[in-house]
Symmetry: C2
């Protein structure tokens, strides 16, 4: 039987996805890591491969969309140019709806099916809404996506095409996230938001795949962007469970990266504060991790400190430079929010963080296709010519 | 040693990627399928797995971006609702640059590296330019992408971000494609266009993966969109080589699908003509397969007839309906050009084409994210509310 526990209060409770907060301290709860012996299995479906580690009683392929099994790709050009050790990209852009969110959604939708829940929803400004809408349609479950008033039309289309009810809500976004749970209880909607405990269980599978792709090596460090916190919590929980089960002896150094324009968790870490304070203003090119009051912030802070990890903030210029490097040197076009991991690695190196020759893993979370506005066309090589002028233009460009 | 042959003239010649046309009949040449014994290997890299079947002397992982290993996904909801046999989607949207083009580009870039070619290029309106730019940057090869004058800014950004020289050319597109080869010869640029023989070798790997994922079954039919023709030629060539090598006894029924607004190959097929005539006007929602004079058209026509396959055309309404079905029922958001395969299957069923209970495979070639303009927002469930009105709105929507 699945139980939730609170990282702070440590009291296990029966798992109810519509009540994912600790009744004592109001922090998000996590799925309890039970101690019973686990093993990995042979399967092409990553949920089946790591089923022992997941709160899923039966993997249902009709709920899956081919998520996971993403490549772990080396960055030979950037490594060479910057004199870095082996860098590996875990390319989570190559999930069915284009982001790592699918990893969490597929587990949360399994939970909905197993519990007979007929309606699901999420509060999202982007990738999470698209992912929830896609898996909801696949499961034949009525889906509600609550978005900000000013959400661009393209994002409404990307999720709405799956038949989800898209509701643009006027008012404070943090308040909307809180309100979603009471609305969920009243209308029988399971809101699988950023720090949903089952969603976080799904993010663990990214960590499990890194483990099995690199085996017998353990990465010296794993970098992930931090927004609400769920993704990094899942990665850390995965490796903690692998260690508990004797699959790895050492944990990687976990590095959570935020954008300086909106870095409440990194600020609390740097200041040695026990709790995250909400950011007043948030302004950064890395929109999809621009979260002024991250619900999982306190858990991230606690876990990173316990594991001896790091939280960093990088500036928009560093982010755009890293996005450009990945695209120009390695053929990978990711969102600014994803590029924070490379910016973070370069900064950490300068600060003397890199100590081992074991590879460093950077998780790329979402495709740059989803935010073309972030790219400055001034940096591109754009030309025009008539057919008759083409030869001369190319002569000039190849000279 | 790799040789080219002409499907029509049958004379093998030394392979030179800058001279990919038959000197006798001017049709595109293909890489010769040699008869020597081939086997598959164990590897996580699909190029290595099927290396014996490919004109690649050594797979170079620094040229790869994690292409392939795409899921073969069932469509339980559509199958049930439409009383169809098992339909499987080969999801080629999950390639590094978001389309099947990467399969061909990676092999063509291997060729460039092996031959010491320092410059590559392509003539493209979309996905192929993005793919070539991505792999060119990874390989550290200077890349030229020639596009139409009216190419939307987003497409320029998606390819340009990789550092490719993007040239918008004013003038006839067909003429531009022809001109690219003479420019290529003059400036040492290998133009890996739609029917490049090495590109087509890469498309074979999609067929090889379908074969190994379905083994020991052979799909009763394989559906692919037809634009220039290279993709379907690659799929057919893959299965012909598998048969020649004794891996399969029977070939699937190959079905090429075009959009009615631009269907020169399907028209020639229906009319029993030996050659494809260029379309005067081309107007369809399926932009990425809107090709009035497909360079591989005559080869497709010849091969489809030899193998007893089918060419179909579907209308824009059928295409949009199929795109909506995939998104709403199965969580897959593809381009209209990709949705033609489901529209084609539904049409073919009505025409009595479906005869076997073996699964049918549809290849989805590109992500719907790349053309959000094609979606009619009128069909979506879009709502607005203040925070205080949200509960009431949801009451209404769940009633």
């Amino acid at each position: 039987l699945t139980r939730f526990t609170c990282v702070f209060c440590d009291e296990p409770r029966p798992a109810d996805p519509r009540n994912p907060f600790c009744p004592d301290c109001r922090e998000p709860m996590l799925v309890e890591s039970e101690g019973q012996r686990k093993s990995t299995r042979r399967s092409s479906n990553p949920l089946s491969r790591f089923k022992d580690f997941l709160p899923v009683s039966r993997v249902q392929t009709d709920l899956c969309l081919g998520e996971g099994n993403t490549p772990l790709l080396s960055l030979p050009n950037i490594s060479k140019r910057h004199g870095l050790p082996r860098i590996l990209i875990k390319n989570e852009m190559l999930n069915p709806s284009g982001s790592f969110k699918d990893r969490g959604t597929v587990v949360a939708v399994h939970t909905a099916r197993e519990m007979g829940i007929q309606r699901i929803g999420t509060v999202s400004t982007g990738n999470m809404g698209v992912s929830t809408a896609a898996y909801g349609s696949r499961a034949g479950i009525s889906t509600f996506v609550l978005v900000k008033q000013d959400t661009p039309r393209e994002k409404l289309i990307s999720a709405g095409i799956h038949g989800a009810r898209m509701i643009q809500v006027q008012g404070d976004y943090g308040e909307l996230a809180r309100l979603s749970y009471s609305i969920g209880k009243r209308h029988g909607i399971y809101f699988m938001n950023s720090t949903d405990p089952f969603r976080i269980e799904g993010y663990k599978v990214i960590g499990f795949e890194i483990f099995s792709q690199l085996r017998p090596h353990t990465p010296s460090a794993v970098f992930a962007p931090v927004s609400a916190g769920g993704h990094l919590i899942g990665l850390m929980k995965a490796y903690m469970e692998l260690q508990q089960q004797g699959f790895v002896s050492q944990l990687p150094h976990f590095v959570g990266v935020q954008a300086q324009g909106c870095s409440p968790v990194a600020e609390a870490f740097a200041a040695g504060r026990p709790r995250v304070a909400s950011s007043r203003t948030c302004r950064t090119i890395a929109q999809s991790i621009s979260n002024p009051s991250p619900p999982g912030g306190n858990i991230v802070l606690r876990m990173i400190r316990e594991l001896g990890g790091t939280l960093l903030a990088v500036g928009d210029e560093e982010i755009l430079a890293a996005q450009g490097l990945l695209a120009r040197e390695e053929g990978l076009f990711c969102l600014p929010a994803s590029a924070t991991v490379l910016a973070g690695l370069l900064k950490w190196r300068v600060e003397g963080g890199l100590s081992s020759r074991e590879p460093v893993v950077l998780v790329l979370t979402g495709s740059g296709q989803k935010n073309l506005q972030a790219v400055d066309p001034a940096g591109l090589s754009l030309h025009t010519a008539r057919l008759s002028e083409l030869d001369e233009l190319i002569s000039g460009l190849t000279a």
